[in-house]
């Protein structure tokens, strides 16, 4: 009922643990029902090791949070040398997340990954915590399209997901460029650039904003882009209960990504699967893909 295909992968559920939330997938948490997880996107890897940002990296921001991990990671060489951690025996697929400054870096990482047999890669074009004043690749339609063309030209057989930033004037334009460049799927949204003021500590905390407050932003992005592309969208942003995931799917997401909501609710993936099943049973749907985009104008006319 909840199973679906993403590229050549069969996912046992449309719920994906997004990058940065679940480390490299090496953890085995006794309390998780792994059968409710379709895939894990590993924490973003870069070509060279990165120490990441100084403290504080985590800051509560109203009913959400800021993070500025700054892509701490051991680099692609170390990552590859350990082999891809796998939860395959529990039916969970792995998607490897990578990030780089340009096509050269990305291609070199793709090389290492495809040598390892990795079939699905997410390219994080949208981390707000790395270079404060340099734009992200997904802030430019031209750079996004070009990067994907470069990657798909050489690694046409790899399923490539582009992860996009909401911090753009028009996310549809970026999404279309990614699709035209050859992206096989889109993940949206990454965190929203945010800032908190620590009055007592007399300091400013910058970071990527995530959690429940960004849900209307993520939904808007998914809804708008769904009408303009054909590739599957992983809907992300502020999912903290089952109902939120259903909203994303009805608005146009093919699958949903769990981010910081998992920190708050460790049973989130099970709750999502439960809620999706309930909705489908009550409304007589057999496959979760049948309800994807159901309330989007692309399929459906609203009263207005």
């Amino acid at each position: 009922m909840l199973g679906l295909k993403l590229g050549k992968m069969d996912l046992q559920s449309p719920v994906i643990m997004m990058s940065g939330i679940f480390s490299y997938g090496e953890a085995d948490l006794g309390y998780l029902d792994y059968s409710t997880i379709g895939a894990v996107v590993t924490k973003t890897i870069t070509l060279e090791p990165r120490q990441g940002n100084p403290q504080p990296r985590i800051w509560e921001a109203g009913s959400g949070m800021l993070n500025s991990i700054g892509l701490q990671n051991p680099g692609i060489k170390d990552f590859v040398s350990h082999g891809i951690p796998s939860l395959m025996d529990r039916g969970v697929r792995t998607i490897v997340s990578i990030s780089g400054q340009d096509s050269g870096e990305i291609l070199s990482m793709m090389e290492s990954l495809s040598a390892l047999g990795v079939e699905t890669v997410e390219i994080n074009l949208s981390c707000p915590n790395v270079h404060r004043d340099r734009p992200m690749i997904s802030q430019s339609a031209r750079l996004t399209g070009q990067l994907l063309r470069d990657v798909k030209r050489e690694f046409g057989q790899v399923f490539v997901i582009a992860k996009l930033s909401p911090n753009v004037t028009d996310i549809s334009e970026i999404a279309i460029a990614a699709e035209e460049g050859g992206a096989d799927g889109l993940s949206m949204i990454n965190t929203v650039r945010g800032l908190c003021v620590d009055i007592e500590g007399r300091r400013i905390i910058e970071g990527g904003y995530s959690g429940p407050p960004v849900k209307p932003v993520g939904l808007r992005a998914v809804y708008d882009v769904y009408r303009k592309v054909r590739v599957p969208i992983i809907g992300i942003g502020g999912i903290e209960k089952g109902r939120d995931a259903l909203e994303y799917i009805l608005a146009g997401a093919y699958a949903v990504g769990v981010g910081s909501g998992f920190f708050s609710n460790p049973f989130l993936t099970s709750e999502i699967c439960g809620e999706l099943k309930d909705y489908m049973v009550k409304n007589n749907f057999r496959r979760v893909t049948d309800i994807s985009g159901m309330l989007n104008e692309k399929n459906y006319k609203t009263g207005r």
Partner: protein, 256 residues
């Protein structure tokens, strides 16, 4: 590590703004001194981490101070309410056979895991001298002091014990040549850094517990890292998973 709804079996205000909450231990594991629990306090998004201040197969005790909105909400809960808790988390304080005599240095609520530790040490027949500093007399959690442990108190306002910081009598004791086999410490960053320096000078191993801001609490997000020496430099290691207890000599101390 498990995630469960634990029932509150007791919640007492020990002194102004300081509370002891007792939870039913429905985990299948016994908590160890130095470990912590990660508690969801509705309606806040991020969980709040608290050291385990005591416990056994039946109970988990947490000692906390109202520091902000989340701890205020926690202090307003009632016995019978349930809390979603992830735990026990993190690495406990190391205890070696040959460490017969320990100095424990605690500042404020940093005392919580050390109270748990000291009763453990005592029950194993070891000797522990507990240096316990607080802002004022009312902040010292007398009701939680394990019987049989020797304490030396300081308060910043002199309202109980010696006036001044807890590192005063601690350092004096070391200076007087009364060296323990091991030092354990918890509390504000300045205190821990100080203890680390003294531990190096007097060549006594020291283990400190750190408190960084956490998101996952389970090693997944790299939010809580601290600088740990490695080769010529340092690496960011996770307080929640690689700690919260670290060898003081491994920590790259920063200004705070």
């Amino acid at each position: 590590m498990e995630a469960r709804n634990l029932k509150i079996t007791g919640l007492t205000e020990l002194s102004a703004g300081h509370y002891l909450v007792e939870l039913e231990n429905s985990f299948s594991t016994m908590p160890l001194p130095g470990q912590f629990v990660h508690i969801k306090v509705p309606p806040f998004f991020l969980r709040r981490p608290f050291s385990i201040a005591g416990g056994d197969a039946e109970k988990i005790r947490v000692l906390f101070r109202v520091a902000g909105e989340g701890t205020r909400a926690l202090s307003c809960m009632e016995p019978g309410d349930e809390l979603n808790v992830i735990g026990p988390l993190g690495t406990p304080f190391p205890v070696r056979e040959e460490w017969k005599k320990a100095f424990i240095v605690a500042g404020g609520t940093g005392a919580a895991p050390l109270l748990f530790l000291s009763s453990r040490l005592l029950s194993e027949g070891r000797e522990a001298l507990f240096f316990y500093g607080a802002r004022e007399a009312g902040h010292i959690m007398f009701r939680l002091l394990p019987p049989g442990v020797d304490f030396i108190f300081t308060t910043q306002d002199g309202s109980y014990g010696e006036k001044g910081l807890v590192t005063g009598p601690f350092e004096k004791m070391l200076r007087d040549g009364l060296l323990p086999d091991v030092i354990y410490a918890g509390g504000p960053h300045g205190l821990l850094k100080n203890v680390a320096g003294l531990s190096a000078s007097y060549r006594v191993p020291a283990f400190v517990t750190l408190e960084n801001r956490m998101a996952c609490g389970t090693g997944l997000c790299y939010g809580c890292v601290t600088k740990i020496r490695s080769g010529d430099g340092w690496d960011y290691r996770r307080v929640c998973k690689d700690g919260p207890v670290f060898d003081a000599a491994d920590i790259e101390w920063e200004e705070s």
